[in-house]
């Protein structure tokens, strides 16, 4: 048995301190809890989309059940892309997906709705409603003090463009017409910036942004460096400037060959994909020390704690580790991740999977992550925050 020191620190204090590079009692846990709460209450995603209060209920009760340290709004819904003109498909038990992209030719750019007001246009107000309701409920349940932070989401310009053009067309545009790709990203950046500003205004405490279309298994390092990365950095810096929020970036997929560039995006935290944890820690630390980055924490990345994959080519499993592995295996992964992130002393670990925690994860595996954070993630000495 081990002695728990976790009773006096709230998830809000623990999570926000870690995102700022500070220590409290222990490593926080953030699993991007979309499916765990839905499955806990036996709900489909569509049911909660049709009734936002159900989403709020699921998030609150899910957090209380599993004791991780952060709740989320709908996340990754594409309400901005939908308002701009892309048609989405709404599956019964999944998030909406791009069905019919709005931009197929340059001419189509004229018919897109680039000017948007998140407070009144399309489905964006629904996302803001969920954030406001989460805030109210969390304050109520904390007897006047919010004890669990709300993380909201924003889409990096390259991802937004891929949703507006279709993914295969986006990849063609990058090669055939980089100037057009740049023009599209210039138009896309302010749309999601407006949405993120509204999300923070509605009560979100922190934000994560992601890019699943610029990984090493999709585009070249040169295309990332010349086209997408500068726009990601501008997006992240604009969010910080406009909202003051702490920002986590999720480079989704394998970014081994460009983690040095990713680190320069100026995010406070990187939510790592299926990548070697030690390689990522080394590259981020290197950029921090050179003054090119300001990373304070790493979120992840259970399923990638394999020391033999620093070749940058080995394919690591996605978040499937969470539903395929035993509790013992998960505990071992958690231990390795915490050690790898924390041992140099400069970075805080926010324990979680290496992408969205998938559907049908055995509850014991979530419990194991929280258990492992309590067991292996305790800090010695007085908390800094």
């Amino acid at each position: 048995m081990y002695e728990s020191k976790t009773t006096e620190v709230t998830p809000m204090e623990r999570m926000m301190a870690a995102l700022n590079g500070q220590k409290t009692d222990r490593t926080p846990v953030h699993v991007y809890p979309r499916w765990a709460p839905l499955e806990y209450l036996g709900l489909t995603f569509k049911e909660t989309w049709d009734d936002p209060d159900l989403w709020v209920k699921a998030q609150i009760l899910g957090q209380e059940r599993y004791q991780y340290d952060c709740v989320i709004d709908y996340d990754m819904m594409g309400p901005v892309e939908e308002f701009i003109g892309t048609k989405l498909k709404y599956p019964v038990n999944n998030v909406p997906m791009v069905k019919d992209p709005v931009i197929k030719t340059k001419e189509d750019m004229k018919k897109a709705n680039w000017k948007l007001d998140p407070r009144k246009d399309g489905n964006m107000p629904k996302v803001l409603y969920v954030i406001r309701r989460l805030k109210e409920e969390l304050i109520k349940r904390g007897h006047g003090k919010q004890q669990v932070p709300i993380m909201t989401w924003g889409s990096c310009p390259a991802r937004t463009c891929a949703c507006l053009t279709g993914f295969d067309r986006w990849f063609e545009i990058i090669i055939e017409d980089p100037d057009w790709a740049q023009e599209l990203m210039e138009l896309a950046l302010p749309t999601w910036l407006e949405m993120v500003k509204a999300e923070i205004e509605a009560g979100a405490d922190t934000v994560w942004v992601n890019d699943p279309v610029s990984a090493a298994d999709t585009i070249s390092r040169a295309d990332y460096e010349n086209l997408c990365q500068p726009m990601e950095r501008r997006f992240i810096e604009a969010i910080r400037r406009e909202t003051g929020a702490n920002i986590t970036m999720h480079p989704c997929g394998n970014w081994h060959d460009r983690m040095d560039l990713v680190a320069q995006n100026q995010a406070d935290c990187y939510f790592l994909g299926p990548m070697d944890i030690r390689l990522c820690v080394d590259k981020i630390t290197e950029q921090n020390k050179a003054g090119n980055a300001c990373c304070k924490a790493i979120n992840g990345n259970i399923g990638a704690a394999t020391p033999s994959t620093t070749d940058g080519k080995t394919v690591l499993p996605y978040a499937s580790t969470m539903n395929q592995s035993t509790a013992d295996e998960i505990e071992g992964e958690c231990k390795e991740v915490i050690k790898a992130v924390e041992e140099e002393g400069d970075l805080r670990c926010v324990l979680g999977p290496n992408c969205w925690a998938p559907a049908k994860v055995p509850p014991i595996n979530y419990d194991t992550v929280v258990y492992a954070a309590r067991k292996y993630g305790q800090y010695d000495g007085k908390p800094q925050a």
Binding site: A216, D223, Q324, A359
Partner: protein, 220 residues
């Protein structure tokens, strides 16, 4: 550089217009369509696949090369059909129901066509009934199932179970792929093979075709 090399290099260099022009020239000069396919298109796409594996080419470059190759096939296909050229095998591909991501199946489809297979791409969000119908209608040797999301990949098992239920499973080899998949899932779902990317999918398809032809023509 001979005309076949010109075609091959144009495809590798993503130059669709040139690839089509050289292919037309080759046919006009009397080269057999089959020779162009076997000595230019197939080696070109094989090189593109290798370059992807080596991290030299990426998805945009693969897509562009595949499109250049598909342009040349527009010229070759009618000739191959007319001459009764026997296909190396027929494969039905699609993304499972509820998943609208189809870039993977499109890419795999083009790579397999470049490898000389007859390919039927059903596209995204395909129901198990549509997969069954396509497998039966085309007498497919292989069924390729794709899914990008952890939430939709279980749909692969539903398709495989449905084919079993309908008595078709043993007549077709099934390969699966998608970013979130791995061999363990493929085994759990009851697939015959798993490929992590388009280049590996070609290698796997060839292996499954060999196995399938042995099963369909057992030694006496």
């Amino acid at each position: 550089m001979g005309i076949l090399d010109e075609i091959k290099e144009s495809i590798i260099a993503m130059k669709k217009t040139e690839a089509i022009e050289f292919t037309q020239k080759a046919i006009d000069e009397g080269l057999a369509a089959e020779e162009v396919l076997n000595k230019a298109l197939i080696p070109a796409m094989s090189t593109v696949g290798d370059q992807y594996e080596e991290g030299i080419k990426f998805i945009p470059e693969m897509l562009m090369s595949a499109k250049a190759m598909m342009g040349t096939l527009e010229i070759l296909r009618p000739i191959l059909t007319k001459s009764g050229q026997k296909s190396k095998g027929k494969i039905v591909l699609g993304t499972v129901e509820g998943d609208v991501h189809d870039i993977g199946v499109k890419l795999v489809g083009m790579m397999l066509e470049g490898a000389g297979l007859d390919v039927v791409v059903l596209g995204a969000d395909t129901s198990k009934e549509e997969f069954l119908e396509a497998v039966q209608e085309h007498n497919a040797s292989i069924l390729g199932l794709s899914a990008l999301l952890t939430t939709t990949m279980a749909g692969m098992k539903e398709v495989i179970d449905f084919l079993k239920e309908k008595g078709v499973r043993d007549k077709v080899k099934i390969m699966v792929g998608g970013a979130t998949l791995n061999q363990r899932f493929a085994d759990e779902y009851g697939a015959d093979g798993f490929a992590p990317d388009a280049a590996q999918a070609c290698v796997l398809a060839k292996r499954l075709l060999d196995e399938q032809s042995k099963q369909r023509s057992p030694a006496l």
